[in-house]
Amino acid sequence: MRSYLKNMKTITKVDYATYLGVILAFIVVTICQSQGLVNRSVSGMLVPICCYVCMSISLNLTVGILGELSLGHAGFMSVGAFSGIIASMSLQSSISSELGRMVIALVVGAVFAAIVGFIVGIPVLRLRGDYLAIVTLAFGEIIKDLINCLLVGWDENGLHIALNVDGTKSMSTLGLSENGIEIIKGAQGATGNDRIATFTMGFVLVMITLIVVLNLVRSRTGRAIMAIRDNRIAAESVGINVTKYKLIAFVTSAALAGSAGALFGLNYSNVTAIQFDFNTSILVLVYVVLGGLGNIWGSIIATVILYVLPEALRQFSDYRMLVYAIVLILVMLATNNPQVRALLGRVIPKRKGAALDE
């Protein structure tokens, strides 16, 4: 019993510290905002930061916990963003509460991204090797092109959807009535959205994402997922259905990215599909890798720092991707350097079991 409690303590200590850190950060920022200490450019960044934190936590579930490389995470964000916008715009007349529409949009975004994640995952996750990286890379591009020719409008008769594949259709072909709203206009994206996303909602979403991912990892399901990452053959030999648990991890990750996307979409009056391109996927992957694979609080900190840094150094913004590449290489070199590791080992308390290494 004593060792049970001790074990629970070591596991949950890190988790609770993560929750506490996020809550403290939220409280500090809220107080600063109410005192007028936060300028416009910073407060404009708060919701996107929350979105990207959710993105990197959810991508960490696929890359760090499951151990599969996904290069199209922004695709799920895109699915979530546009389905969330459609949901919130079409419910504008029937639901007056912004919070209500916001919550519905997040749920719709998560559900659609989960469905798409399931469709992408089911053929690919049965395979071994790097297929997921290749397919998700293609998926990100396909979603971008699909949404680029998507026309969606809403009137009393319901949703009007058309795919402008050959370039001959326009919003008028949807045949909206006079009171109709044009929601997505092909390559122009979604314009004239309600900006209903709030920092509080962003904070709540970060907490939900954290709770889902951390509780999943500390459960039987999470252990099965990590077992597949560590040794697939051994995982099969103890009776774990590998495809099922890969799918659970991947679909959960996609759903969380979808709700993060919905929040992101509802924070801007204009959203285009180009915003969720390959660069965005790589950006989130950089957050995850720099924060440490499988390390959730690391992802959060890396995301906040790397999101704020380029914005703070706006004059260097053109070189942002270049700086990212260099930082990525330097961090990888540093963390693989035995001397740096020894130094870190001295600063950070020794991991259990290290004494047994001889």
Partner: protein, 282 residues
């Protein structure tokens, strides 16, 4: 060796194998008939017939490359056999996956240790308990009361299983950082956690020193007696094989060259030839 391992009398069963006398009125746990697999043009295993009793400790020996591990891989469906059938507890296993085979009752260890190196010793055993302490992913995420009771049960069971090898104190250590012998023992514990009726051990004593091997021998017999399961092991340490195995099957170039009790095997000319080579006539 202080402890002597007492073997029962062996009796023949219809499929031309022998099983211990105490198991004869129970149906055998494993029946392989005419099992074979080809890799391209190579016949890796051919016409392999074996019957194992409910509580038998069986040995599978043979020179390097004889196809011993291939047989384990066939039994656990890492490879699907080209020919033949495998009956586990009377049930046909054809078309099953490795995970399904485990749920049907075969657990195994690996020649090259395959632990979940980044996880703790306790988590490794808990992963073995995956299908024993069951709750859904949603229950886990929402941490419903059922989650806590199942997790507590899994924890208690994991420590109980670890205590077979006296490894409770290592529960919080990282599995990959354990010494070699402890890793081998942990693999056995993890396999036992899946509640098997047949335990396959692939070179359990490899890399162990004589005293560790002696301890392992006692523990294998102890495991058989406590859990009342059958054990089949591949091993090159003849002292271990000859002292604890009741039935031994000798394999060479994918074919069974001898089957019998340790005494029969030790005096079998075909076995001596396979191991030592043919004696040149003067």
């Amino acid at each position: 060796m202080s402890k002597q391992f007492v073997r029962g009398k062996m009796v023949p069963v219809p499929s031309h194998s022998i099983i211990p006398e105490r198991d004869i009125d129970k149906s055998p746990i494993l029946e392989c008939s005419h099992l074979g697999i080809d890799f391209g043009g190579l016949r890796a295993v051919n016409d392999f017939n074996l019957t194992i009793g409910r509580t038998e400790i069986a040995g599978l020996i043979g020179p390097n490359g004889a196809g011993k591990t291939t047989i384990f891989n066939l039994l656990t469906k890492v490879y699907q056999p080209t020919r033949g059938t495998i009956l586990l507890d009377g049930l046909d296993t054809s078309g099953k996956t490795t995970a399904q085979i485990n749920r049907m009752g075969i657990a195994r260890t690996f020649q090259n240790i395959r632990l979940f190196n980044n996880l703790s010793v306790e988590d490794n055993v808990k992963i073995g308990l995956h299908n024993q302490e069951h709750y859904s992913a949603l229950t886990g995420v929402l941490r419903l009361p059922w989650y806590w009771s199942r997790e507590k049960a899994a924890h208690d069971r994991a420590l109980e299983l670890l205590s077979i090898f006296g490894m409770e104190d290592l529960a919080n250590h990282q599995a990959g950082s354990l010494p070699y012998g402890a890793q081998r023992r942990l693999e056995i514990v993890r396999a036992l956690a899946t509640n098997p009726s047949l335990l396959l051990l692939d070179e359990p004593a490899a890399g162990m020193n004589p005293s560790e091997t002696a301890e392992l021998m006692e523990n294998i017999v102890k495991i058989r007696d406590t859990f009342q399961i059958a054990v089949m092991l591949i091993e090159h340490d003849m002292k271990l094989v000859m002292s604890i195995c009741e039935g031994i099957c000798v394999l060479n170039f994918g074919e069974v060259i001898a089957k019998g009790t340790p005494e029969e095997i030790q005096s079998n000319p075909a076995v001596i030839e396979a191991y030592l080579g043919k004696q040149k006539e003067a």
